[in-house]
């Protein structure tokens, strides 16, 4: 694409009076290799290509895309998007000076995936298979899956902002099925980073085997506990799902702009303990949620959502930032060129407090400890959120006792945040395959030091 053709496309997009337009060209190639029944016996690849064209008129959006860069197809898409501004605009040609968006590369690739052979990937999966089987004689099946992809982006908008980015992502998931006395159960572990083939290290292998080993250690002894309201200690790492579901989504400023979030009028107010700081961060090197530049040309950054217990900032895209008269926070993201960008999280975590995890557990007479999760959900307006606990322990008289599993926990965002009464000093980012689905999928991550939530509703029997 030449600058002239980019300008011409922007001119068409603005031809009906739009205030702003952007072009998002994307080329992605992804590969999956899968192991089942001791053999690497399935492979899949996908190549996807296209351009998304967005036009804004105030806070209204026109969006269309083309799966080809044949001029007529792109022109048709630009005209479709232009219709959001249904005016007869003066015929002007767009020719803005290009401003290249400058950024620090948060995911430098050392070794391209394209140079890494299928044979080497096979070997890696096979070694994982063998290591998992050697963990426990009760394991009957192992499944493993290695995914890698690279997405090339070219962005240009009517402000003249221009950037190119190359976004890698690699993931590995290992699952095993165990059988004991006629009872079966399943455990899983995953790791994901924005990396090239240097992702596949010995230490990664050890880490995923260790995670799987932890997850199966009490699998047959674990039970669904007695349910009800109780104290919950959320262990370091994946407990960041609490932040993602309890407050993260409700801080996304499209909900604030529409006045539908329970936090809509809380900006600047004390919403939790002054020792709590919550961050949404695009700048962690190689992290699954890292982003050099967001999908509307705003440089990736670290955004304090809660600072010293005060609601410090919502997560903005260009539309909400303009609406509220603030700077965008680099949260305008999209699944692919097929989607218009909307405010989304990146890596969301809580900064360290000053307690120790041991002290927190010792302070609980009766409650549960949880640190392994699968999925969560939130209702933005009511603030009710949930997350599913794959495994954890009962806490009785300050000690971890019986293992528990497969329970849903439910709470209310503002109440749960205010109910965090202790924060440990062991913050850990969880590097599993976290994917957020808010109409469209985005890679994210989360993290947390161990915290004590005074009261949440825990699923279980009676």
């Amino acid at each position: 694409m030449t600058k002239e053709s980019l300008d011409r496309l922007i001119s068409i997009a603005l031809s009906k009076g739009g205030d702003y337009a952007d072009l998002f060209f994307e080329y992605s190639i992804s590969n999956v290799l899968a192991l089942r029944d001791n053999e690497v016996n399935a492979i899949a690849s996908n190549i996807d290509y296209g351009v998304g064209i967005r036009v804004l008129k105030g806070d209204q959006t026109g969006y269309a895309y083309s799966e080809s860069t044949i001029w007529d197809d792109m022109e048709k898409a630009a005209l479709s998007a232009a219709r959001i501004a249904d005016e007869i605009a003066p015929c002007t040609s767009f020719n803005h000076k290009i401003e290249t968006v400058r950024f620090t590369n948060r995911y430098p690739v050392i070794s391209d995936w394209s140079d890494y052979s299928v044979d080497n990937k096979k070997l890696y999966l096979q070694e994982i298979n063998d290591s998992v089987f050697s963990l426990d004689s009760r394991i009957t099946k192992v499944m493993a899956r290695l995914s890698d992809s690279e997405t090339k982006v070219l962005f240009y908008n009517s402000l003249g902002d221009y950037y190119c980015d190359c976004r890698p992502i690699a993931s590995i998931v290992a699952t095993c099925i165990l059988s004991q006395n006629g009872v079966t159960d399943t455990a899983s572990a995953s790791m994901s980073f924005r990396m090239g083939s240097e992702f596949l290290t010995e230490s990664l292998k050890k880490e995923i085997i260790k995670a799987l080993s932890d997850n199966i250690s009490h699998i047959f002894e674990a039970r669904q506990p007695k349910g009800g309201e109780m104290a919950v200690v959320m262990g370091a790492g994946g407990s960041g799902i609490l932040l993602h579901e309890a407050i993260g989504h409700a801080f996304e400023a499209d909900f604030i702009r529409k006045w539908t979030s329970i936090f809509s009028d809380k900006l600047g107010q004390q919403i939790c303990s002054k020792y709590i700081n919550v961050v949404d961060d695009a700048t962690i090197t190689a992290n699954r949620g890292a982003l050099n530049v967001d999908d509307e040309g705003v440089v990736g950054q670290k955004t304090y959502m809660v600072k010293d217990g005060v609601l410090h900032s919502f997560l903005h895209d260009r539309i909400s930032a303009k609406y509220f008269g603030v700077s965008p926070t680099g949260n305008g993201r999209r699944e692919s060129f097929r989607f218009n960008p909307i405010p989304r999280m990146r890596a969301t975590y809580m900064e360290n407090g000053n307690c120790s995890e041991d002290d927190i557990i010792k302070s609980i007479k009766k409650g549960i400890f949880v640190d392994n999760f699968t999925n969560g959900q939130v209702q933005i307006g009511a603030g009710d959120f949930t997350f599913f606990v794959k495994s954890g322990f009962l806490i009785e008289n300050g000690r971890l006792t019986a293992p528990i599993k497969d329970i849903n926990i439910i709470g209310n965002g503002p109440e749960a945040l205010a109910d965090i009464v202790a924060v440990a000093d062991n913050c850990k980012i969880d590097n599993g395959t976290w994917t957020c689905g808010k109409d469209q999928y985005c890679y994210v991550s989360c993290g947390m030091p161990s915290v004590l939530v005074k009261s949440l509703t825990v699923g279980g029997g009676n």
Partner: protein
């Protein structure tokens, strides 16, 4: 819809020239339009056309699946040649074969009423008018209403498949949807949300009127919810969300779960696992239903199946691969139009939601799920729920922040009633359901 299928034939030829003994090629093309209106003002206009080519290669007992939206023959040749080179590096898997040709759909089925040509000529102005109508129906009618988001959408979906054994089949489906989401201000900062949607394969059957009124009523009815004490309650699940408790059963009956041994329904064929009241059927050739079809993605002919009869499991969902793996006959990869037996359970009464609530007398009506999951190996589940507490057959107050927890086999053995109110617009025809003695956790 005019779609050039010659690219599929070209891709098949390239696949065979690249060393594949067999191959399957599918083309999918989707055209989608939507208009979103917020508080009577257009928020988004979206238009899209998607193309995808799926290539499945069977080379020397090895298997690879590949896809792209690049339809240029020269680029495809490079892509498929490289794909074939990668596929031969895999371990051999003798179960990776195309289906038995005798099982293919051979055409000549009656029209399943899946396509309405109106979709090809709806002007954008009409789409905007429909979305505005839905929003305008309630905007400004209730002071508590903070937001009404109404969306009109239509989609045209075309699929074409050929394989090297001579199978050729195509499907064309149109669909039209109107939906409304309402947010009303509740107690304190809390908002209450309500939604509704209507969908149809035919434009003139789309019920636009009333959609947002129902959404508003649902949001207002849910204001000021309470959390009940933990305990065992009767549970009625509304037809809008009842498929949540059926999906784990279907998932546990798939070939993949059975072969890997992570199914709580492993080794249950011919055994009575569930309540006598549960008879679950697949009727793939019902006309005008969104899930109806004559063949699956392998080209296998669909047929009527009684999945579960009076609690006895009759069949798994077995595609060609898992048929070979498990050495059992092929059935079909997944159900098409699921429905329950029409057997009446409450003598002399209809089985509407209100009739069921009256008969159950006291319990919790679940109208929405909030997260949760189930363990496919054990059948244990735990889901967040919201809805209404009812006594003497009447709604008393809304309920939120509660979980239901238990085991799916126990749950389905506590089945009280199966309604007759499945929504026509749903792919799976799952009506309202009632169960007794369900563990709810709350205060």
């Amino acid at each position: 819809m005019k779609t050039d299928t010659s690219i599929a034939a070209a891709a098949l030829q390239i696949a065979l020239e690249s060393g594949a003994q067999n191959a399957r090629i599918s083309i999918s093309r989707g055209v989608e339009n939507s208009v979103i209106v917020i508080n009577n003002k257009i928020d988004r206009l979206l238009q899209s056309t998607d193309n995808a080519l799926y290539i499945q290669l069977y080379i020397d007992g090895r298997y690879g699946s590949f896809s792209t939206n690049m339809m240029d023959v020269d680029l495809l040749r490079k892509f498929i040649t490289k794909a074939a080179r990668s596929t031969v590096l895999l371990a051999e898997d003798e179960c990776r074969v195309l289906p038995d040709k005798e099982l293919y759909y051979r055409g000549n089925g009656e029209d399943l009423l899946q396509y309405d040509s109106t979709i090809e000529s709806i002007p954008t102005e009409q789409r905007i008018e429909d979305a505005m109508r839905a929003s305008g129906e309630i905007f400004g009618t209730d002071k508590r209403l903070l937001l009404v988001e109404a969306e009109y959408g239509d989609m045209l979906d075309y699929n074409y498949t050929i394989d090297s054994q001579g199978f050729e089949g195509s499907t064309l489906q149109s669909s039209y949807t109107i939906s409304a989401d309402c947010t009303v201000r509740g107690r304190g900062d809390r908002r209450s949300e309500g939604w509704w949607y209507e969908s149809s394969l035919f434009y003139d059957k789309l019920k636009i009127e009333g959609c947002s009124t129902i959404a508003l009523r649902r949001s207002v009815d849910s204001l000021s919810p309470k959390t009940l004490k933990s305990g065992k309650y009767n549970m009625v699940i509304e037809n809008t969300v009842s498929s949540k408790m059926v999906a784990p059963i279907i998932s546990a009956l798939t070939g993949s779960a059975i072969q890997q041994g992570n199914s709580f329904l492993l080794n249950t064929i011919g055994k009575k696992i569930f309540s006598d009241k549960l008879t679950l059927l697949d009727r793939p050739h019902l006309k005008g239903y969104a899930g109806s079809r004559y063949f699956d993605s392998e080209g296998l002919s669909t047929k009527e199946m009684n999945i579960i009869t009076k609690g006895v499991v009759n069949t798994y969902f077995i595609d060609t691969y898992f048929s070979k793996k498990l050495n059992i006959p092929t059935t079909i990869e997944s159900p098409s139009v699921l429905l329950f037996s029409k057997e009446k359970i409450i003598d002399g009464k209809n089985l509407s939601l209100s009739a069921i609530i009256k008969d159950v007398d006291k319990g919790i009506l679940v109208t929405g799920f909030n997260g949760g999951n189930f363990n496919s190996s054990t059948g244990d589940y735990s889901f967040g729920v919201q809805g209404f507490y009812f006594e003497k057959g009447n709604i008393v107050h809304p309920v939120s922040e509660m979980n239901i927890t238990g085991n799916l086999i126990s749950l389905w053995n506590n089945l009280l009633y199966i309604g007759d109110d499945a929504r026509d617009c749903a792919k799976w025809q799952i009506p309202s359901l009632a169960f007794e003695n369900v563990d709810f956790s709350g205060m």
